[in-house]
């Protein structure tokens, strides 16, 4: 492998949703966590299942399996905490995954205009062509927002 080819390689986390595998740039993954309690409360954002508590943070759980595979996850092993961008700010979002996650180095082919918005690119690994996910496109956010004027920073309790 030449030096120039090495520089093209990026790290990705491979995740499994049912029978299919997807990739997320490793730089957008904060943590992989064991199954834990999902707290649910009434809301109207259908892609959000609830929230988990992780290191004092409240993290929304977004099941992307139905969008990506057409089926809801019936079993899950882990939550992949991914970084979701909202303009210049970021928040964690927990993606339920089945099966093992794997860290690989691969070269990504950038998505074409004809690809779905959630596809950031493609990579080839172990004989498979794998979609690299655009976390910002696959998880809900202010683009769908009906309400305006919401608070965007963590609030401290008032006395």
């Amino acid at each position: 492998m030449t030096v120039s080819a090495e520089l093209e390689l990026q790290s990705f986390v491979l995740l499994r949703l049912g029978e299919r595998r997807f990739a997320v740039p490793a730089g957008q993954i904060a943590e992989l966590v064991a199954p834990c309690r999902v707290f649910k409360f009434p809301h109207r954002t259908s892609q959000i299942e609830g929230v988990i508590l992780r290191r004092g943070r409240i993290v929304p759980v977004c099941d992307v399996a139905e969008t990506l595979t057409g089926k809801r996850l019936m079993s899950r092993r882990l939550y992949l905490l991914a970084v979701r961008h909202y303009g210049a700010q970021t928040e964690w979002v927990a993606l339920p995954v089945t099966g093992e996650c794997e860290l690989i180095n691969a070269e990504m082919t950038v998505a074409a205009e004809s690809d779905a918005p959630h596809v950031a690119g493609w990579l080839s690994h172990a004989g498979d062509v794998i979609e690299v996910l655009n976390i910002d496109a696959i998880t809900p956010g202010p683009g769908e927002m009906h309400a305006e004027g919401e608070t965007t920073v963590a609030l401290e309790a008032r006395p």
Partner: protein, 177 residues
């Protein structure tokens, strides 16, 4: 030489909240936002039926002087199964009396986390944020979030005419100049 006494850690700022139940779901509201807690029965004699098209969550209104207080079913507001509600929280600085199933406890909230931005629909109006009490995440409701200005306008337009002392409607009455 005197050694300076170590600075006392300042007590954490807290907010008193009421944790309440609607259809088995837990919610919290700042106790400072609750002007009165009443039995829902105590409203029944004083309330008037109201029907605003498309707004199932309000079925009764209570007149207090020149002010109207709309009784909002918490269950219907949050799309939960219908529940009669045994208590009503009269919410300060609003025209809302919220029907709830019961009070779970009073608690001190030390941290309110903004609702994650992945939640991007009506819930952003409903909740001030989320808090963790005894390792349980509870949404903290926004007192103004139960009736939007549009809903209030619809309710005002649907108000039954006031009843005079003889029990007759004054609708259509012409006031002598």
């Amino acid at each position: 030489m005197r050694v300076a006494a170590p600075a006392k850690p300042s007590p954490a700022r807290t907010e008193q909240i009421i944790v309440f139940r609607i259809c088995g779901e837990l919610f919290a509201v700042s106790s400072a936002s609750v002007q009165e807690v009443r039995s829902s029965d105590s409203f029944s004699g004083a309330s008037t039926e109201i029907f605003a098209p498309g707004l199932r969550k309000v079925r009764h209104v209570v007149r207090r002087g020149d002010r109207s207080l709309f009784i909002v079913s918490g269950a219907l507001h949050f799309d939960l199964p219908p529940s009669p509600g045994t208590l009503a929280f009269v919410l300060r600085k609003t025209r809302t009396a919220l029907l709830v199933d019961g009070i779970e406890k009073m608690a001190a909230m030390t941290r309110l986390q903004a609702l994650p931005r992945s939640f991007c629909h009506e819930e952003r109006r409903w909740y001030r944020g989320l808090t963790a009490i005894d390792q349980t995440v509870i949404p903290v409701v926004h007192p103004e979030g139960f009736l939007s200005p549009e809903e209030l306008a619809l309710l005002d337009a649907s108000m039954p005419p006031p009843v005079n002392r003889d029990g007759e409607s004054t609708e259509g009455t012409v006031v002598a100049p």
